[in-house]
């Protein structure tokens, strides 16, 4: 059911369907001292940033270290974020610099590791990030993935289409409304109900 074509989102590409208002609201809270707001930004971007960094730093555990440093740098630099660029663009730059600096410090030239964006191997190595302490058996992320896929398969067509267009294709509500030939309000409602249905399935898995 799910699109086999993965999409690497770059700043300026999809998922920036809105005006960036949600990121802006969160980073403003961070600037006022709300650490939990930063946590929500981490939740949103941790995967993307990690993927980005892995284009430069191949070793998954090193990439994790670099990603952690990038986010902490962003947190420390939050006071100086002025909203002239999108938050993700700013974060993206910090992440790239952190990765490059890391490579330079480790004696490796960053250009050696510029990888083809379309390289499917990237996704492979991403999936190989393993915490060595975890015993064999079905990992939590596998369980979540299976639960989500199962829930998606069981959704009514209109809900499934709406959420896939949003999450996979990165379309805005407006674009989805045009595609599905329905009002924007209906799109919003369908996506919400899809999420709720899936959430019921995974709720048990998370605490």
């Amino acid at each position: 059911m799910r699109s086999t074509e993965r999409r690497l989102t770059e700043p300026g590409e999809a998922q920036k369907s809105g005006s960036g208002a949600s990121d802006l609201a969160l980073i403003k809270r961070v600037q006022q001292g709300d650490k939990s707001a930063f946590d929500l930004l981490v939740v949103k971007y941790q995967h993307k940033i990690l993927k980005l960094i892995m284009r430069y730093v191949r070793d998954p555990s090193e990439a994790m270290d670099v990603a952690q440093e990038a986010f902490l740098k962003a947190y420390r630099a939050a006071p100086s974020f002025r909203g002239e660029s999108a938050f993700y663009t700013w974060l993206y730059r910090i992440a790239i610099n952190t990765a490059k600096n890391y490579l330079v410090a480790a004696g490796r030239r960053p250009t050696q590791f510029e990888v083809d964006l379309q390289d499917p191997e990237q996704y492979e190595s991403f999936a190989k990030l393993r915490d060595l302490d975890t015993p064999e058996g079905l990992a939590l992320s596998d369980e979540i993935r299976d639960a989500v896929n199962g829930a998606i398969a069981d959704l009514p067509d209109d809900l499934r289409t709406a959420i896939l267009l949003r999450e996979i294709e990165g379309m805005s509500y407006e674009e989805i409304a045009q595609t599905m030939e329905c009002p924007v309000g209906t799109v919003r409602s369908r996506i919400f109900r899809a999420r709720e249905a899936i959430d019921k399935r995974i709720g048990a898995l998370l605490q």
Binding site: A21, D39, V43, H47, L140, R166, E167, I202
Partner: protein, 206 residues
Amino acid sequence: MSEQIHDQVSAFIDDELSAEECAFLVRRFERDPESRNKLVRYSLIGSALRGELLQPDPDMLRRRIQDALNGSPSAIKPAASAPQPRAAANARWASPAVGLGLAASVAVAALFTLKAMNETDAVGGSATPVLSTIVPADSSSSQDTRVVTPLPPIRLTNYLLHHGEYARMSRTSVHSNVVGSMEPPVVMDAVMVDDAPPPQTEPEVR
């Protein structure tokens, strides 16, 4: 009521709320764990759909960052990724917080922030301590001390700017240290980890 909020959370994730609605919701997150958790779970669903979930624990990175921001020891990693054995060099330093990597430096930054607020280092005759800009502005988040990039003690910075004029070989290094935001300055007690013999007596010859 809560369904209405969850619907808003869903739209928030898709960046389809107005600025005002965003601000309202974000303030709500701080005091309403249920809406926060909804956001986290909806995010997770999106990541799962895109095949982005970290294996095996999707929250690994997030937890490490949380721990680092809260100064918890679990986030302190040995300098495995450091290209050079800095940890050993740091072991000489008396302060326990130093040399434990990124997480500790953030914790020390918090320490420094609090410490700095007690200092009365008046600069340029002005009675207002410069470091007062670090005081957390939002009283509602009294639990969260605002950790900003720490400002080196003014006096040491002033000295370094003058020292840099003569340091020549090290001037770039001195300036980088002053301009850089990574390492907070650490003020330690006058304790030598290992006392070295004093330098040979050489009366100053001009």
